[in-house]
Structure formats: structure tokens, C-alpha cells
């Protein structure tokens, strides 16, 4: 565990050196500027729009970080040949892969945590500057704790995306890994269509294939509860917990597969 922690810490420090935290500052500035501007254009829907914008921006920034750092996690080490020095030390390939993964997830989590603080700060400002009569018709309070649940699920979704990127990074070039990862992310949002394929096609084998793909491909749509949270609609805790459990299991599968592929690689 200590070795994994050391590798993860190195990844985190490297991402800080690469100025990834600048994304956080950009996020805060974007939100604060937006809150002033969009209030004029939304015909009274500024709170909804700021919540939508904040949650969507966190997801976008996080996705960019997950994909573009995730795809280079392993390939960069191989390209620089620093992987030889690393693996010569008492670090197993499994520890290397898992450490790399946890380091990037830590970077993502810290990024999103800072963005969440900036987000709540803007919401607090909106709450303090809005008349009580207007606040009384908001479907959910400005500082709704359920927003944090939506952020937690976003982190879980991005953790899956990171695991996908890492998996492809173990055996393909960064460009191909980026394409595969984005492709799977897109497919992950259309998954419900695969489950309901019998509604559009009468061919049993194709329907079974689609059903199989539904279970094999990452199902990312349930991680998106942004609309429910913004409209103040209750999301059952059981749904959130099952979705988080699904993320843990799916990440486990991807990390195991990544370790298997990485173990077979010959770096001579």
C-alpha cells in the first residue's frame, strides 16, 4: 500500500507542477462572471442557470483532466523510458498501475473539491443578494446539500473515465487512447438505447448482442442526477449507493485488465 501511495503522490505532485489547478481558478472566474451576466438574460431563472452551469462545468473540466492526463499516464513513462528506472525499484507493475490511477483520481477529487467550494461561494452570494420573495419560489435552496451528491457522482463517473483512459494507455498511443476513451464515454451515455433495442428491432440475436453490450460497456447515464438536484427532486439514497457500488466494481474490472495488459508488455 505504501508503494502505491508513493506512486500516487508522485502523479499528484506532477499534475500540480503541470498547472492543472489553473482549471480551478478558471472555473471560479467563469462562474462568478457568469452569475453577473446571465442574470440579465434568463428572465428570472438565474439560480437554475448558475446551478446547471456550475455542475456542467465541473463535469467538463473533470472530463478534460481525466481524458488528457489519463491517456498519458503510462505511455508518457514508456516514451520517456522512465518506466525502466521505476520498475527496477521494488515496485510491481500492479502497484505502478494502481498508484498511477489513484494519483490521477486524487488530482480529480481535489480539483472538484475546490470547484465545489467556489460553486457554493457563488451560490451563497446569490442567496444573500436575492429577495426573500424570490427565494421562496426556488424549487431547492441555494445551498442545497444535494448538489454535493451530484458532485460526488460526477467524481465517480470521472473515476470510471480515468480507469478507461488508463486501460487504453497501457497498450496504445495517446491519440488512439483519447479516441477510444471519448468513444466509450459517448457510448456510456447512450446505453439505455441498447437495453431497449427490442423496441426498434425484431431480430433476436441483435437484441441479445445489444443487451450484452449494455452490460459490458460503462453505463454512465445514472451518474448524471444534475437535473433532479437542480429541480429539487428527491433521488433515492439506494440509487446513489448502487451507482457508486457499480463504479467501484467497474473500476475494479478495468484496473485488473490494465494490470494484466501492462504485465504482458515487454519494454526491451
Amino acid at each position: 500500500m505504501r508503494t502505491i501511495g508513493l506512486v500516487a503522490g508522485a502523479v499528484f505532485r506532477e499534475s500540480v507542477r503541470d498547472r492543472i489547478p489553473y482549471a480551478m481558478v478558471a472555473f471560479a472566474v467563469l462562474l462568478i462572471a457568469a452569475s453577473y451576466l446571465i442574470g440579465q438574460l434568463t428572465a428570472g431563472q438565474d439560480m437554475k442557470v448558475i446551478k446547471d452551469l456550475g455542475l456542467a462545468a465541473m463535469s467538463w473540466f473533470g472530463l478534460l483532466i481525466a481524458v488528457f492526463i489519463g491517456i498519458t499516464l503510462v505511455s508518457k513513462e514508456v516514451e520517456r523510458r522512465s518506466v525502466f528506472a521505476l520498475l527496477a525499484k521494488p515496485v510491481s507493475r500492479a502497484q505502478f498501475v494502481v498508484g498511477k490511477y489513484l494519483g490521477l483520481v486524487m488530482t480529480l477529487a481535489v480539483n472538484l473539491a475546490v470547484m465545489t467550494v467556489a460553486f457554493y461561494a457563488v451560490l451563497l452570494y446569490m442567496d444573500m443578494t436575492t429577495a426573500p420573495g424570490i427565494k421562496s419560489v426556488w424549487p431547492a435552496p441555494a445551498l442545497d446539500p444535494h448538489l454535493a451528491v451530484a458532485v460526488v457522482l460526477t467524481v465517480a463517473e470521472l473515476s470510471i473515465v480515468t480507469a478507461v483512459a488508463l486501460f487504453f494507455s497501457t497498450f496504445s498511443s495517446p491519440l488512439l487512447a483519447a479516441l477510444f476513451t471519448v468513444g466509450l464515454w459517448v457510448a456510456g451515455h447512450f446505453n439505455a438505447d441498447l437495453r431497449n433495442f427490442e423496441a426498434v428491432l425484431d431480430a433476436r440475436p441483435v437484441v441479445l448482442l445489444a443487451r450484452g453490450l449494455y452490460y459490458v460497456l460503462p453505463n454512465l447515464a445514472p451518474f448524471n442526477i444534475r437535473a433532479e438536484v437542480v429541480h429539487g427532486i428527491d433521488v433515492p439514497a439506494s440509487q446513489v449507493l448502487l451507482t457508486l457500488a457499480y463504479a467501484v466494481v467497474y473500476i475494479g474490472i478495468l484496473l485488473t485488465a490494465s494490470v494484466m495488459v501492462f504485465r504482458r508488455r515487454d519494454f526491451k
Partner: protein, 316 residues
């Protein structure tokens, strides 16, 4: 000795690029200003909406449905406001319904979009597209997508009442709304009143007042206040026309100026409409009306009263 010289050279070397950036930046601003003076880029008069299918757009936005709905909502608000600012003859509201349909397809719980559509899609030209059918279609979509909300039923009833003068349908929808969860107590009596006295100015006033008092959206309240001021103006004009008739009966001719009313002791001065604009007298007929430049123009046509009192039948 060489070190200070190198430092001085370094300062000059740093200053040079900054100076160049400043000069080029100023030149860029100047060039843009010069270009913009004579540049008239092509802009389609009606605007463009490349994708009008809600389901297609929902797939394209890959889970970011609500933020996409917000963007189309802002576009719809700006589009409507922009058309209202144009000269009456240049206005076109063709894209208002497709935009609102996209908003509500992407975010089916975007209540304000349904209610915005209910008010402004039905508004007669040039203040709106004059499409009460689209208003009703959007609100019925709201009922299908967002559940049995009394607000949507009330708004459908309202469109039937005010814009289509179909008091039976209006009463049916008010009645259906009164049975929906969370409906206010005044909705059931409104259904009965609509059947009995639909088209009556007092009923219209009650309807607008309820809309004003029950809405959380400022622009609905503003619109309702405008309509209430129009109804006040219509009351005032009726009272003054009664005065004019008395004047004509006594003097044997129509009054052509307000001074004649003042001299005869009927009025103390020139009457103003609720927007503060002086009312005018038609010198030929002696009838009193709004000035052409009054902010309350055009007054709504007085709907005909219901010919009968039919038995309410709930809509299916």
C-alpha cells in the same frame, strides 16, 4: 563591467516585445474599428435554428441536457425581446415555438418555459406570433412530460378564455385544474364564473388579477399589470363616453375639445389614461379613446358575452 551592460541590454530586450505587443494591439483595435464602420455582415432576418428536433438535440448534448436547455432558454428570451424591439412590420416570431419546444424537450421540468410560451405565443401580432394553438400545444406537452400541474391547466384555460373566447373550454380546463394536486381554492369558483359571465370585463379583471397574484415570475406579473391597466383604461373611457353622451344631449352637439367639458363643468381638466398619456376626443363622432402613442395601445377587443350557460364537461 560587462555584467551591468548585459543587464541593461536585458531590460531593453524585455521592454521591446512589450512595446511591440502594445503597438500591435492598438493597431488591431484601430483596424477593427475601421473595418466595422463599413462592414454589414449577412444576418438572416428570421434567425436560424439548425436542429429543431428535441429528441435529436437530447442525444447530441450527451447528458448535458439542462445546460443546453438553459442556453436555448436564454436564446428564446433574447429572440423574443429582440423581435419586440424591432419596428412592428419587421417582426417575426417563427422560431419562438421551436426554441421553447427544444427547451422543454431537453429539460421537461423547465416550468417557466411552458408558462412563458403560454403568455407570449398567444400574444397577437405585432407583440407576439398570435398562435394560441402553439401555446396550448406547449402546455399540453408540459402536462404529458411534467405531470398534472394545475398551473398548466390554468394557463390552457386562460388561453381559451382570453385569446380564443371559448368560455366553455376555458371553464373545463379551470375545472380540471381545480382538481389537480395543490390547486388553489379560487380555481373552482373561477370555472363557474367563466361559464356564467365569460367575456365580462369584471371576469377578465379577476382572471388577470389571479394570474398576477399567483405567479412567481416577474414578467408574468408585469404582463398582468399591463392588462389590468388596459382594463382600467377601458373602464375610464366608458365613463367618459357616458359623460360625452350627457354633454351631447344637453348641448345638442358633440364636444370637440376637453376645454368644452371643463367649461361646462363636467371635468376639471384633461383626463389621462393609466399610463399617464392624455386621452383624445374624436372631433367628428365625439367618442373618447386612447391616444395613438399611448403605451396601452392596442386595447384588447371586447369579447362577446357567452350566448348561453352550458353544462361543464371535463376535458378528456
Amino acid at each position: 563591467m560587462s555584467a551591468p551592460r548585459a543587464e541593461a541590454g536585458g531590460r531593453t530586450g524585455t521592454l521591446g516585445p512589450w512595446l511591440l505587443i502594445a503597438v500591435l494591439g492598438l493597431a488591431s483595435v484601430g483596424l477593427q474599428a475601421a473595418r466595422d464602420r463599413d462592414r454589414h455582415p449577412f444576418e438572416p432576418t428570421g434567425g436560424m435554428l439548425w436542429i429543431q428536433s428535441g429528441p435529436a438535440m437530447k442525444r447530441l448534448v450527451l447528458g448535458y441536457d439542462t445546460i443546453a436547455a438553459d442556453l436555448y432558454w436564454m436564446r428564446a428570451v433574447v429572440y423574443y425581446g429582440g423581435q419586440r424591439l424591432r419596428p412592428a412590420g419587421d417582426r417575426s416570431y417563427d422560431l419562438l415555438f421551436p426554441m421553447l419546444d427544444l427547451v422543454t424537450s431537453l429539460d421537461p421540468r423547465f416550468r417557466v418555459a411552458y408558462r412563458f410560451g403560454a403568455i407570449f405565443l398567444a400574444e397577437s401580432f405585432p407583440n407576439g406570433p398570435g398562435r394560441p394553438d402553439q401555446s396550448i400545444a406547449l402546455l399540453e406537452d408540459g402536462l404529458a412530460r411534467d405531470g398534472e400541474r394545475w398551473e398548466y391547466m390554468h394557463d390552457i384555460g386562460f388561453v381559451y378564455y382570453w385569446w380564443l373566447q371559448d368560455y366553455q373550454k376555458a371553464a373545463e380546463w379551470f375545472g380540471r385544474g381545480s382538481r389537480a394536486p395543490g390547486a388553489p381554492e379560487w380555481l373552482a369558483p373561477l370555472a363557474a364564473t367563466t361559464l356564467a359571465t365569460g367575456g365580462d370585463r369584471q371576469s377578465s379583471r379577476t382572471l388577470w388579477q389571479q394570474l398576477h397574484d399567483s405567479s412567481e415570475f416577474p414578467w408574468i406579473r408585469t404582463n398582468a399589470e399591463f392588462r389590468l391597466r388596459q382594463l382600467d383604461a377601458m373602464d375610464l373611457i366608458d365613463q367618459l363616453n357616458a359623460v360625452a353622451e350627457r354633454y351631447q344631449a344637453r348641448e345638442g352637439r358633440v364636444a370637440q375639445t376637453w376645454q368644452e367639458f371643463v367649461r361646462a363643468g363636467y371635468l376639471r381638466g384633461i383626463p389621462l389614461d393609466p399610463s399617464g398619456t392624455p386621452l383624445v376626443i374624436n372631433p367628428v363622432t365625439g367618442r373618447i379613446g386612447l391616444a395613438a402613442d399611448s403605451a396601452l395601445q392596442p386595447l384588447p377587443a371586447e369579447p362577446p358575452p357567452p350566448s348561453a350557460v352550458p353544462v361543464p364537461r371535463p376535458p378528456s
